[in-house]
Amino acid sequence: MKSNVSKLLSTAAIAATFSVGATAATLDDVKAKGFVQCGVSSGVPGFSNADDKGNWSGIDVDACRAVASAIFGDGQKAKFTPLSAKERLTALQSGEIDVLTRNTTWTYTRDASLGLDFTAVNFYDGQGFMVRKDLGVTTAMDLDGATVCTEQGTTTELNMADFFRKNKLSYVPVVVQKADEALAAYDSGRCDVYTTDKSGLAAHRTKLADPKAHLILPETISKEPLAPVVRHGDNQWKDIVTWALHVQVNAEEMGISSKNVAKIKSETNDPSIKRMLGVEGDMGAQLGLPASWAYDIIANVGNYGEIFERNVGPSTPVDIPRGLNALWTEGGVMYAPPVR
């Protein structure tokens, strides 16, 4: 009995010495298991949404597929964990997912104190309000005394409070646990107003009983730069996720798309394109990736413009104008550092 106890004690002591500070590089973990595990939202059309066969699509899903393409040359080597707003950061902190590609706003506190790092913005957004058209409201300044529905555990809750306080308007908050139920409460008439990021409003409007009966008010009450998030302290992994996004924007700027990338790779004389597509130099190796990493991203997922059009562009039900998300050369703020 006594020897058993001492055995137990020494095992525990050994375990203690080893497990403290033993955090392996995420890239090695991902390569070992053979896929990237991404956290996504549980259903925002255009951003991350699963169809009835369980196939995921959306801008945030493509951000994850881009990372999988860069590592494995195969965009399908990505698995998705649907997370609610309140679960998402903890899931990343605890290592349940490798990267959080779930319309998450880049804020100071989240970046500085949560052990997290934000990568590059893949959608510039801002919070707005949606109301029923028959209320006759045309501006958010008319919302004095309104009841407002929103999802729990988001920056939305704080922005909403700030907006009403700043403008000295009274309101009744109804904060529901999940986005779908918040929307259901709005649809059933519990609230006059539904508030979330404008992209979310556009996406959720498609799910309402009668989408045409609802109006998104013109005010944008906050800045919501949405970016994929990784754990703090793994710089190589952060660089991979960041540059997987930068490559998409650069590709659009250079006129490279999923349709012409093979042709351009074999024919181009432009040294910067040659470097990026892995024809020359060791760009991939610098991040521990194959030489064809950027080529694979563009061939599998496409450039930023293609991704935008395919998921949320005017031809989709979500119908969001390019706006701020246009390239910097076309009046937007999408600006990626050069690959060189």
């Binding site: 403290v20 309140k86 555990g153 529901v176 008439g189 302290g233």
Partner: protein, 391 residues
């Protein structure tokens, strides 16, 4: 302690009591060590990942609103105050739920035993339906289905000065005016008087055997005296009436649908379980007891109250305690339909705004632990009071 089985070996380790003590100490040491190891591992990992720890965020402004707050609360208040708002909401819904569930349970349990065929069948249907549908589903039903059926604020149903619409039940809000102190004095006086009445009735019954309806008279006394003082003080209460405004209803008091839905779902669901416990308790009392009481000439309601229920309670209380604990814990499901209780405010919003997962979840576990233990301790005390006193 020291009854040695081998009297010729008096060594320290051969004493069974000593050996037991040594193993206890060793076990305690292992538990403490493992606990310390887990804690230091956690600390090291949190430090490695740059996650700040501690409860200092409690003093920072929360910045988010809370729909239902029984103490003063605005966005400018701290996370600490938001925690207390949520804690009060949890306790209020749990206690009200327990009271309502008990009333429903007792009525339904008796109804299922009723000799009236229809009453018994209806109670059976109620109990079986409620027990077999998940609570969360019932909450969604009460919240979304009932909301959908109610009119918008502009078309509210009106009864006297009460309004009913999708935003809740609105009633006049009593506003206390000068001179209310007199009414409070009258109320206290009436309570003192009724306590005296009950004591006098008891004494008289033991002395003369004559029975006096002390409890009903006390109720009348309290209402009567309070009303008298209210009239003397000139009715020092004004009512703030609810009024329809552009979007909602302003003024008055409101019971929000979130509160109503959670309370109804919790109490009807748990009530069905309590009904079965009550039925089991009553069936456990031998029929001979009832026959004996009747042969003494006791009326039926007195037989139930003085003979059957006290004996049934001994069977009822322990499982009833579990149901109360379930109800208190199930109140956390209110988060799903926007009732701002502990899980919604602390593990939902606060956790997400501050990222302090360990602290907030630990705090919630502590609260639910203490809440459950308090209910348990109270019910155990009640149980020992009710149990058979052997002389």
């Amino acid at each position: 302690m020291s009854d040695n089985t081998t009297p010729n070996n008096n060594s320290f380790l051969h004493d069974a009591g000593n050996r037991a003590m040594i193993f206890q100490v060793l076990l305690l040491a292992v538990v403490v060590f493992v606990g310390y190891y887990l804690f230091s591992n956690l600390q090291a990992n949190l430090d490695n990942r740059g996650i700040s720890t501690g409860f200092s965020f409690f003093n920072e402004p929360a910045g988010f609103p809370i729909l239902i707050h029984l103490i003063e609360y605005t966005e400018a208040n701290t996370y600490g105050r938001a925690f207390f708002v949520a804690l009060i909401n949890t306790i209020v819904i749990s206690l009200l739920g327990i009271v309502l569930a008990t009333i429903i349970g007792v009525i339904m349990g008796l109804a299922r035993l009723s000799k009236n065929w229809l009453v018994a069948r209806l109670a059976t249907i109620y109990i079986e339906v409620m027990r077999n549908i998940p609570l969360l589903l019932q909450m969604f039903f009460w919240y979304f289905a009932v909301l959908a059926a109610l009119p918008a604020p502009a078309q509210s149903y009106e009864f006297a000065d009460f309004l009913l619409n999708k935003r809740g039940i609105y009633s006049p809000n009593p506003m206390i005016q000068d001179g209310f102190g007199l009414v409070v004095f009258g109320f206290i006086l009436s309570i003192v008087a009724s306590i005296g009445l009950v004591i006098w009735a008891k004494k008289r019954q033991t002395k003369t055997g004559l029975w006096f309806p002390a409890y009903w008279s006390s109720l009348g006394l309290i209402i009567g005296i309070t009303f008298l003082f209210l009239a003397v003080a000139g009715f020092p209460i004004e009512f703030d009436l609810p009024q329809k405004s552009r979007f909602n209803v302003t003024g008055g008091m409101v019971l929000p649908p979130e509160f109503v839905a959670v309370l109804v779902a919790l109490s009807t669901y748990t009530g069905a379980f309590i009904a079965e416990i009550v039925r089991a308790g009553i069936l456990s009392v031998n029929w001979g007891q009832t026959e004996a009481a009747r042969s003494l000439g006791l009326r039926d309601n007195l037989t139930q109250r003085l003979i059957v229920l006290p004996q049934a309670l001994r069977v009822i209380i322990p499982p009833l305690t579990s149901q109360y604990l379930n109800l208190a814990k199930n109140s956390s499901l209110g988060a799903a339909i926007a009732y701002p209780e502990l899980v919604a405010v602390v593990m939902g919003t606060t956790l997400n705004q501050t990222g302090q997962a360990i602290e907030t979840i630990g705090l919630c576990m502590l609260v639910y632990g203490s809440l459950s233990l308090s209910i348990s301790i109270f019910m155990n005390w009640y149980n020992s009071k009710m149990s058979l006193i052997e002389r």
